[in-house]
Symmetry: C2
Subunit: 166 residues, 2 copies
């Protein structure tokens, strides 16, 4: 025990855990009974394993994905940001202000061409413009480049790269 692989990072995850994780990636509202049946284990075992996975902070969360067209969102954009300063303080300040904006769905902190990518969902083009001008642009923001998103696609099965070598 206590190998580097087992210390907090991945590990102690067996094939059954992987099945449980994949099932919940696909459908987070599955009942314990359904998961147990698909994994081929007893219900009590299944709920115990689930509790253990949660204790080990395997899950960041379980979220409903909504049809945005039914929520009044009519425009989605990717906004590419370059900053003038690269201190940790500035980076963190920008990130935490962006987290506060409900319109900002995803924040990618990048290395390369831009410093941040923001996935923004707005009511309409006026709302988008006002949001960017009033809340995204800051004195330490060097450039802002907005691109329209035609279509967004999410794969719930975030890949799992574990070798069950034993």
């Amino acid at each position: 025990m206590n190998s580097i692989r087992k210390k907090g990072s991945f590990a102690e995850l067996d094939e059954t855990d992987e099945i449980i994780i994949k099932l919940l990636q696909k459908n987070a509202r599955l009942s314990n009974k359904q998961i147990a049946a698909e994994a081929g284990i007893a219900e009590s075992t299944c709920s115990e394993r689930l509790r253990k996975l949660e204790r080990n902070k395997m899950f960041f969360g379980f979220h409903a994905f909504i049809d945005s067209s039914k929520l009044g969102t009519n425009i989605e954009a990717m906004v590419s940001i370059k900053l003038t300063k690269f201190t940790k303080e500035v980076m963190e300040d920008f990130k935490s202000s962006m987290k506060q904006l409900p319109e900002v769905v995803s924040i990618y902190h990048m290395a390369g061409y831009s410093d941040f990518l923001l996935y923004i969902a707005a009511r309409d083009k006026d709302h988008l413009r006002d949001l960017i001008m009033d809340h995204v642009t800051k004195d330490y923001v060097k450039s802002v480049e907005t691109s329209l998103i035609y279509d967004f696609n999410f794969n719930p099965l975030f890949p799992i790269y574990l070798d069950h070598d034993k």
Copy 2:
């Protein structure tokens, strides 16, 4: 009845529906009882409303978000793609091939600087390089620009822009 607003798009969503949706955006594994308590309605009413929301295809799905560091993913990248052709066939071909790759977590179809943005989660840099060269680059792909992602942040409360004017 039968106004444009009510036909399939948003509508007939009241404040209680909004509460239910927001609760499930934050935590998709909430029990019906918990949702009912927070929304201040009877359990039977709550499960009926939930069934109705599902019937109206309000939810794309409910997904577990996993701590990627525990799954053997050591590198995440945003890959910006430009194509040589812009026919619907080429676009759709590219999109559907990308959907097949488990490493591709999100696909953004864009208007503007690039045609597609791909959020990719890979084991390591070799895996990333091989994946891009072997499966992302196609004969109709003009350019590929890869940027490392330091950090990704997701806001589960996708914004809701409905006016409950009545």
